[in-house]
């Protein structure tokens, strides 16, 4: 099988340096001659994971470029993170379409990441929000090549030229044609025409096709380099040992154990490099291999200072506290928006009274609970740092990291080493899973500190126990929903959720304002809910929280879609019909998604074997609608078998349907693991479930049959990495309620659930 290739080096690294200094023109391009044609442009920077309210911003400096060399090599420099979601391939696919080249004629290079060219990967945005920019860039490069051909022939009629299969053909005499490489250098001197002749989507050759991914060949023969695979002779290896108690700090520096090269105290870095002033919360043991370092670290006795507050980081206590807040905490109103003259605070009592009156005695009043969750990326956190010194002064710093934010890595390296940006090189490696955890900077910061202390190239690794025990966990949340039904219709709906704000813990949430991530999945619902309100009560605990695949939607969709099902049952109406009856007329995409799932699953739902049951849930996240229908059975008490999941997705224009399918399959597994078993537990400040023997996850033989149906669409593309996660938990709980009559409102399902196999 031939396919486009992934290369680890750029054809012309000097391009990146040029990009750092030159501004884009007003049309958003910068073209220059660099052994052929280099066309630089700015992919939108996405702040979704940095800041709850950030919008897409464009910038006047380039962060991506296409390079066409005189020998015809076409390369897209990729400044993001490939962590399995396929964005490296998806971006190349869009570019190849407009550039009029075949899929085998384009290469993707991981850009030498630096503050200029790299961007944060998060928010299911990598491909979807860069679609238009990449199409435009591909078309611009193509039109520059055409302009070069026009100059060569002296014919200024654009219609006489056709770009096809990496050639420009002169139509009046098709014997006259040029390979792109032959025109590349001349194209760099051409003026960009006004009309870039974007391809009519009806004529797409590549967009919408299940093209093979560029990174897969390297991932079946062991040659793909993840961060943890960076290796060169002479490097040393470090293992981290955190204070086991969250919030504890180093009391005294332990002696270097025999066999170790060094012991280094590491700074407690709250997320993204914001440091708890001056404190150290970990030590790194450096040795000649990772296993030795980790063994010495494990055996080393370290004295820690434990503030009294660390005892409060305790699952039982936090649950009690959250229950109190659910009852009496001060709420902020997320929906409806406060009318003129009101603040979210002053509006709260007014709308609360109004909705309480409409509800009267609620038909249903239920509280849903979801736990803290660890990320557990297969590749544990790690980072390799090499600093060159002149005497005692650092001269340059090179970092290899599996990171979702190379920009933050470079910033932290500059902060710690005091080197200028030009002396810092950051390589983004493949990520063995990111899932939101590898946006954080704690492990990067530690590795730089260790490299500065030992003055040798060093790779720092977190053993799995450290990875589970010192995560930035998906927040716990309690949600109380009260609803009034009359005549089979919801008359009033009160939704009150208590959860920790990731943004607030990082000091970036304005006091008194709502964390939009805490309420995603609870607002902009597709349903008519009568008199309703959605309110959020912030919860402040010492558990470090972070972005977990689908963020707030994974929390709120469980409550919303479980309650919809409970109401349908109370009204004795079919769950699909009940949802149809409540869909707002303007939510055509929700309706179409639900109908497609209804149709896809109808034949098997009608012929369910005895002892089997189904459940459905739908949700929207990152602009994408996903509906999942699951079939389960319970072979024995305490066990569960998930037989199948039918999944319908509307993500707008599809770039690569095979990637959409893979992301839905992956999201479903992610949802199953979280729903059935996922839970981070804390006792007196210490995380208790530290490896895969106590964190049960599904195995291949237990995986249900997954069918993915993609709704054809000409809408702009929307995200696919995360939106498949939220509907799984409620769909499973709804199926279980149908099967057993037992409504599960607290996740995980049953901690010791066993699964049926093949």
């Amino acid at each position: 099988m031939t396919m486009t290739t992934y290369t680890s080096t750029l054809p012309a690294d000097e391009i990146v340096a040029t990009l750092a200094t030159q501004k884009l023109n007003r049309r958003g391009f910068l073209k220059f001659s660099a052994n052929g044609l280099a066309l630089a442009f700015a992919l939108p920077m996405i702040g979704r994971s940095d800041d709850a309210n950030a919008a897409i911003t464009t910038q006047d400096l380039a962060n991506a470029y296409i390079h066409i060399s005189p020998n015809g090599t076409i390369t897209l420099a990729f400044g993001g993170a490939e962590m399995g979601q396929g964005s490296m391939s998806g971006l190349a696919q869009i570019l190849a379409e407009e550039l009029m080249v075949d899929w085998t004629q384009i290469s993707v290079a991981q850009a030498l990441a630096n503050p200029v060219i790299s961007y944060t990967t998060g928010g299911s945005s990598a491909v979807s929000r860069r679609y238009t920019t990449l199409r435009t860039a591909g078309a611009a490069a193509r039109e520059l090549l055409v302009a070069a051909a026009m100059q060569e022939t002296g014919d200024s009629n654009r219609d006489n030229f056709k770009a096809d299969n990496a050639k420009i053909v002169y139509l009046p005499d098709t014997e006259i044609w040029w390979e792109y490489g032959e025109l590349a250098s001349a194209a760099a001197g051409m003026t960009l025409p006004a009309d870039l002749r974007l391809t009519n989507p009806a004529n797409f050759r590549l967009i919408g096709k299940p093209l093979p991914r560029v990174d897969i060949p390297a991932k079946v023969d062991g040659s793909a380099k993840f961060g943890i695979d960076i290796w060169f002779p002479g490097m040393v290896f470090a293992a981290i040992k955190h204070c086991p108690t969250i919030g504890g700090t180093l009391k005294s520096m332990p002696a270097k154990p025999s066999g170790a090269i060094a012991v280094v105290a590491c700074t407690a870095s709250n997320t993204r490099g914001s440091v708890i002033a001056g404190s150290k919360n970990a030590v790194a043991v450096v040795a000649s291999n990772t296993w030795l370092a980790s063994r010495l670290a494990k055996k080393m006795s370290v004295s820690w200072s434990l503030p009294v507050s660390t005892a409060n980081v305790d699952s039982a206590q936090i649950l009690t506290y959250a229950q109190g807040q659910l009852g009496s905490g001060v709420a902020l109103i997320a929906e409806p928006l406060p009318p003129a003259g009101y603040t979210p605070q002053s509006f709260a009592p007014v709308i609360e009274a109004d909705v309480a009156k409409a509800i009267g005695t609620p038909t249903l009043d239920a509280t849903y609970t979801v736990p803290y969750l660890a990320h557990a990326t297969m590749e544990v956190l790690n980072c390799t740092v090499s600093i060159v010194y002149s005497g005692t002064t650092p001269v340059s710093c090179e970092i290899w990291a599996p990171t979702q934010s190379a920009t933050a890595v470079a910033t932290n390296a500059a902060l710690l080493t005091q080197l200028p940006a030009s002396a810092i090189t950051v390589h983004t490696t493949f990520l063995g899973g990111g899932l939101g955890r590898k946006i954080e900077q704690d492990y990067i910061w530690q590795a730089i500190e260790v490299a500065m202390a030992v003055r040798k190239p060093v790779k720092l690794t977190w053993m799995r126990e450290e990875d589970f025990g010192h995560d930035q966990y998906r927040p716990l949340a309690l949600t109380r929903v009260k609803a009034k039904l009359a005549g089979g219709k919801i008359q009033a709906w009160s939704y009150r959720t208590v959860s920790q704000s990731i943004t607030a813990q990082r000091g970036r949430l304005k006091a008194g304002s709502i964390d939009s991530q805490a309420i995603e999945g609870a607002i902009h619902l597709p349903y008519e809910l009568g008199n309703y309100l959605v309110e959020w009560v912030p919860l402040d605990t010492g558990v470090p929280v972070g972005y977990w695949r689908s963020v707030g939607a994974s929390i709120n969709s469980f409550a919303v879609e479980s309650m919809m099902d409970e109401l349908a049952k109370t009204a004795a109406i079919d769950p699909f019909t009940f949802r149809y009856n409540h869909l707002k007329s303007e939510d055509a995409r929700a309706l179409a998604t639900l109908q497609a799932a209804d149709l896809l699953s109808s034949s098997w739902r009608k012929q369910l074997p005895a002892g089997h049951a189904w459940g459905v849930a739908i949700s929207q996240a990152f602009g994408t609608w996903v509906c999942e229908v699951v079939e389960i059975s319970q072979p024995a008490v305490g066990s569960l078998r998930v037989h199948r999941v039918d999944c319908v997705v509307d993500c707008g224009t599809v770039i690569n349907p095979a990637s959409v399918e893979a992301q839905m399959q992956g999201s479903i597994l992610h949802g199953l693991n979280a729903t059935l078993w996922g839970e981070a537990v804390f006792k007196a400040g210490i995380a208790t479930k530290l490896n895969f023997n106590s964190n049960r996850v599904m195995r291949v033989s237990e995986m249900p049959t997954v069918r993915v149906h993609i709704i054809p669409s000409t809408n702009p593309p929307s995200g696919i990495g995360e939106p498949g996660v939220p509907p799984l938990a409620p769909a499973l709980a709804n199926a279980y309620a149908r099967l057993s009559g037992i409504r599960i409102r607290k996740l995980p399902f049953f901690a010791n659930a066993t699964m049926g196999g093949i």
């Binding site: 099988m1 962590m83 399995g84 979601q85 396929g86 093979p212 991914r213 990174d215 897969i216 060949p217 390297a218 991932k219 079946v220 023969d221 062991g222 040659s223 793909a224 380099k225 993840f226 695979d229 290796w231 002779p233 290896f237 000649s288 291999n289 990772t290 296993w291 030795l292 980790s294 557990a376 990326t377 297969m378 590749e379 544990v380 493949f430 990520l431 063995g432 899973g433 899932l435 799995r464 893979a662 399959q665 992956g666 999201s667 479903i668 597994l669 992610h670 693991n673 490896n691 895969f692 023997n693 996850v697 599904m698 195995r699 291949v700 033989s701 995986m703 997954v706 196999g757 093949i758």
Partner: protein, 143 residues
């Protein structure tokens, strides 16, 4: 000095004999295709073949591998031509790809033992977090 044969190449390493083979492969020989995932023989990312048998290299003492033939993902084939690797490409199995060397080595050793389809799948207790199980099933069932 411990003498090792990895992918038909001889090596001598000076290391604590209790060091797990995984870390000798990765940190001393620079053969990084074999992955660390849990260190307690649960996840399967570290799977290699030792004298044709599937083993968790994270708990296999390097001294016990002396005199035996170790095959890692790098040595399974010279050109990704092993049927399991080809099936993995055809079905576009990997997402992040981190667990796949272990998965492929487990599959290859089960094939070597004469196993097929669901039999192989039942033996693969490996952990994948991305959710490539659906495609692994497709790939294994056609081998």
């Amino acid at each position: 000095m411990i003498s090792l044969n990895v992918n038909n190449q001889n090596y001598s390493v000076e290391v604590d004999p209790a060091t797990p083979l995984l870390w000798v492969l990765r940190d001393i020989l620079g053969l990084t295709g074999t992955k660390y995932g849990c260190g307690i023989e649960v996840c399967g990312a570290c799977t290699v073949m030792i004298d044709g048998q599937r083993e968790h290299s994270c708990v296999f003492d390097v001294s016990s591998a002396a005199g035996k033939k170790v095959v890692t993902i790098e040595g399974l084939s010279v050109d990704a031509s092993h049927p399991a690797q080809q099936a993995w490409i055809k079905h576009q199995v990997p997402q992040c790809g981190y667990c796949q060397p272990g998965m492929i080595m487990a599959c290859a050793s089960a094939m070597k033992a004469g196993h097929y389809g669901n039999e192989i799948l039942s033996e693969m207790k490996h952990i994948c977090i991305c959710g490539t199980y659906s495609r692994i099933k497709d790939a294994v069932r056609e081998l």
